[in-house]
């Protein structure tokens, strides 16, 4: 007589088990199959094409009623199993018990629902089965319906694409910094995001859901930052959890999943488990490939044949039309690894291979995934790739020749992309001029005016010449930023603006960076360019800053720091001095120095004391002096007409106003100001980046002075009649410098490149433009003008200045 096999769950894993088992021996078991879903086995992974309308449910059924009939499987579909009684060896279903000799648990996973208020409102669904899929299809019938998908992983994005294809307005909320972070690195995540956005799907990363709002059905989603996004449908696709409830209740061994041996047997020799509900050697499963391997092993074990499940690498593909991505193996953790990166911005292609010694361990690719399976094979077989290492990234069809093209970024620009910002000349106009016979830079300048003003786009114009003329044009080799790119600072600044690149990943990818995430030379520059050009969209990245700007203090040669509070216009009070003296004593500051910038420097403060000393200085009303910043440093002043017998204007007051306006802003290099009350110039205003000399008739504003490694007198930008006008002109100059200069060029170096005449055109002659510059500066200040000390002295930030762990204490125990 046949033994009795009961299977709980008619999913993808158990479906395969039954196929293998019945094929090998139809008579071995009497099979009873329970399924909570009111249907038999179907291809769950094809629910996405059903959702998007490319397939129907009928297309994806794998085992129909006839199949179960023919194979003599007793089906109890639409019936939940509520209990397993291992004493009596019976399974309890909603409609009664069934006895077993062998039991197979194949209950899959349950979607994880984030525990926020409103999660139970009608209209909030998960994405797991046909019911969910049909609910989404129905919701998409609402005219102008809005859907919010929580979770930017595989499932969430397939749901989003499907809903979009059905005409809904879709927003994806993702907690992490980039999409599908478990399968993709940042670069591929960036490309994926871009093509989904091109489809009209809105994506918000680092978006943490606080609550789902609605009266008797869902109406909106609220984020932690209080943003409210209207929604008629909310799909939660934030992850899955092995469905282990039955196993736990019957006291089988369960960790995160039901623990199974290599033979797929649980802690009870008569109970097996398969699929997403199991945990094998500490590992969980979320893709079908390994489950199919498990299924083979289960079938053999049931037939008393020896078999062992050996987990293999898995590869991921996203089933969204137009988003070609592939990831396999492990490209994240582990020391001793090396990267090979290939980018072709023109085609939107990115490939990255991760090697460990001579073996390929991971591969991520976007845009061109044709070689994915070949790489996957190399990973699975642990092939020694040392012989083909040089050319590995070009794939199996590689015939020799290097296809990396430094010119690709410019070649990829659309014709209407602006190349020369000063004169509003597009790539198309330059190409036309070239075709009409202007075949060198001088001729282009003469015919289109491109690069004829500030000159920062010269490199780009030359590249347009080169891509248009081919070999007939040889670019004079300009110095690139560093080994990570062939582009110059000026090129990159222009491209960030014209291609609207708003993240580091966008820069790395679109401009074909040769390293993963830049180096200590280029990354601080790129971070600055992005925050200067996109103050609202881009978020400053402290990890791309030199230690001084990250710690908001100057590092000393012994690893301690110096602390310089702001002293507005060089003025101070007995109170401030007292607080400084107290702080110096309290934190054992070894040296106190009066700086050349009219303020006081506390030198030798220990890194871990910084938040505390800042809090003390804050309490006395002082903020950071940014003595470490590529940004506004000091504004020196003299005593002016309030006290001095020669003073013509209130130089101290104006200096303070300028400092109050400009402090906190970041710039390509440091910026120092001074205001002198008369031409005797006691504040040394004529050698500053911006220096104002007061005279009877008003204020002489000079710029581009220097008194460091070079010494140079300021050049007169404009004579102003009022304080307001002076402040406006100085602010506009600051912004023009911020928007155009190369990182680490002081204003005098930058003005020498673009010419004072051009600066005057922008600020003195064009008053509209001056006001626009001031407006853009103010927009940036609305974000960046805040005291970093106050922020970092906060309770949640301060501990980050201390060691992560102190093992000297433990050793003493």
């Amino acid at each position: 007589m046949s033994k009795k096999l009961v299977v709980i769950g008619a999913g993808m894993a158990s479906g395969r088990v039954l196929e293998h088992l019945l094929e090998a021996d139809k008579e071995a078991y009497d099979v009873t199959l329970f399924n909570a879903e009111p249907r038999g086995n179907y291809n769950r992974i094809m629910l996405s094409p059903v959702l998007s309308g490319e397939k129907t449910y009928e297309d994806i059924v794998t085992h129909d009623a006839d199949w179960y009939e023919e194979n003599g499987v007793t089906c109890r579909f639409g019936e939940h199993v509520t209990q397993i009684d291992r004493e009596r060896k019976v399974v309890v279903g909603q409609n009664g018990e069934v006895a077993y000799d062998k039991l197979l648990i194949a209950t899959g996973s349950a979607p994880f629902i984030i525990p926020v208020p409103g999660k139970d409102l009608p209209g909030v669904i998960a994405y797991r089965d046909l019911e969910d899929t049909n609910a989404m299809i129905e919701a998409s019938g609402i005219e102008g319906g809005k859907a919010v998908v929580i979770g930017g992983g595989l499932l969430g994005l397939e749901a989003a694409a499907g809903l979009k294809a059905r005409g809904m307005d879709v927003t994806v909320l993702h907690l992490m910094g980039h999409l599908m972070e478990r399968q993709l690195d940042e670069a591929a995540g960036y490309l994926l995001r871009r093509s989904l956005e091109d489809k009209g799907i809105e994506i918000k990363c680092q978006a943490s859901t606080a609550a789902i709002l609605g009266e008797d059905k869902v109406e909106a989603v609220m984020l932690q930052d209080k943003t409210v996004i209207p929604a008629d449908l909310v799909v939660m696709a934030v992850g899955i959890r092995p469905e282990t409830r039955l196993a736990t209740d019957t006291a089988l061994e369960v960790e995160r999943g039901i623990t199974v041996s290599d033979a797929m047997v649980t802690s009870d020799p008569d109970v097996l488990a398969v699929g997403e509900c199991v945990e094998h050697r500490g590992q969980l499963f979320g893709l079908v490939a390994p489950l199919y391997d498990q299924a083979k092993v289960v079938a053999k074990t049931l037939l008393d044949e020896a078999a062992e499940f050996e987990p293999k690498e898995v590869a991921t593909k996203l089933k969204v039309t137009g988003c070609d991505l592939f990831s396999a193996g492990d490209f994240a953790e582990g020391p001793g690894r090396e990267d090979i990166v290939f980018r072709d911005p023109a085609r939107g292609v990115y490939k990255r291979l991760v090697l460990e010694g001579d073996v390929l361990v991971g591969a991520v690719m976007y845009g061109d995934t044709a070689d994915g399976n070949w790489f996957f094979g190399l990973i699975k077989d642990k092939t020694d790739v040392s012989e083909m290492r040089e050319t590995l990234i070009f794939g199996p069809a590689y015939q020799g020749g290097d296809s990396l093209d430094p010119m690709a970024a410019v070649a990829a620009l659309p014709l209407d992309a602006e190349i020369c910002g000063c004169n509003g000349v597009s790539k198309g106009q330059i190409v036309e001029a070239i075709q009409a016979g202007s075949t060198d830079l001088a001729a282009i300048k003469a015919t289109t005016k491109a690069s004829a003003s500030c000159g920062t786009c010269t490199g780009l114009v030359e590249q347009v010449l080169a891509t248009t003329l081919g070999d007939d044009f040889v670019i004079p080799a300009p110095a690139s930023i560093c080994g990570c790119t062939d582009l110059t600072h000026e090129d990159v600044r222009r491209l960030i603006k014209s291609k609207e690149l708003k993240s580091q990943e966008a820069v790395w990818q679109e401009l074909g960076w040769k390293s993963r995430n830049g180096c200590h030379v280029c990354r601080p520059a790129i971070n600055y360019y992005l925050l200067a050009d996109w103050p609202v969209e881009y978020q400053d990245d402290p990890q791309s800053r030199f230690v001084n700007e990250r710690k908001h203090a100057n590092i000393q040669k012994d690893g301690t720091y110096s602390v310089v509070p702001r002293m507005w216009g060089g003025m101070t009070t007995p109170n401030e001095l007292r607080a400084i003296a107290d702080a110096a004593e309290k934190y054992n500051v070894p040296a106190v120095h009066v700086t050349g910038g009219q303020r006081i420097d506390l030198l030798g403060v220990k890194g871990e004391d910084l938040p505390a000393i800042w809090a003390d200085l804050n309490a006395a009303g002082m903020i950071s002096g940014h003595a470490y910043a590529k940004g506004l440093r000091t504004v020196k002043t003299c005593v002016g007409k309030e006290h001095c017998r020669f003073g013509t204007q209130d130089s101290t007051g104006l200096g303070i106003k300028l400092e109050e306006k400009l402090w906190g802003s970041w710039s390509p290099h440091k910026v120092k100001l001074a205001v002198s009350g008369c031409p005797r110039n006691c504040a040394e205003a004529t050698c500053k980046d911006i220096g104002v000399v007061c005279v009877d008739s008003g204020y002489q504003v000079g710029v581009a002075g220097a008194a460091g490694m070079d010494v140079k007198e300021t050049e007169r930008l404009m004579d102003c009649t009022t304080e307001e006008e002076t402040i406006e002109v100085a602010t506009a100059f600051m912004q023009l410098y911020r928007e155009n200069a190369k990182y680490l060029d002081r204003p005098y170096k930058w003005v020498a490149k673009v010419g004072l005449d051009w600066v005057k055109e922008q600020i003195v002659e064009d008053i509209e433009n001056r006001k626009a510059l001031v407006e853009r500066f103010e927009l940036s200040q609305s974000i960046y003008q805040k005291d970093p000390w106050a922020e970092l002295a906060q309770e949640e930030e301060a501990p980050k200045f201390a060691p992560l762990a102190n093992l000297t204490l433990e050793a003493a125990e």
Partner: protein
């Protein structure tokens, strides 16, 4: 090999570092853009610069004092500079940072 739990990976900023104090000086623990972690001595062989304050790029760090670059995998200085920093075994387990306990014996010695 035995391991000590020194904290959560979330306590280190991405592309950043924190230090762990031991009796024989600080150990820098780095976290890269891809959540790889490395532990090395915190002292630059050039002039003792605190490497934990450097810019982390790829799997390298640049010393904040004079820009020597070290490969975190091997500890070797890159390019023309010659020098090596000690590296220690470290791994991530369920989000926890597990440092080779040998550093304790070293420090207790």
């Amino acid at each position: 090999m035995s391991w000590i739990d020194i904290g959560s990976i979330e306590q280190i900023p991405v592309r950043g570092a924190r230090v762990v104090k031991t009796k024989l000086g600080c150990i820098a623990v780095f976290r890269t853009a891809e959540d790889e972690v490395f532990a090395t001595s915190d002292r630059c062989p050039h002039k003792d610069g605190p490497l934990s304050e450097g810019i982390v790029h790829g799997t390298s760090v640049t010393c904040p004092l004079h820009n020597w670059v070290f490969d975190l995998n091997t500890g070797e200085a890159q390019g023309a500079d010659e020098g090596k920093i000690d590296t220690y075994a470290i791994r991530v387990e369920n989000g926890r940072l597990m440092l080779d306990a040998a550093v304790m014996e070293r420090s207790a010695a």
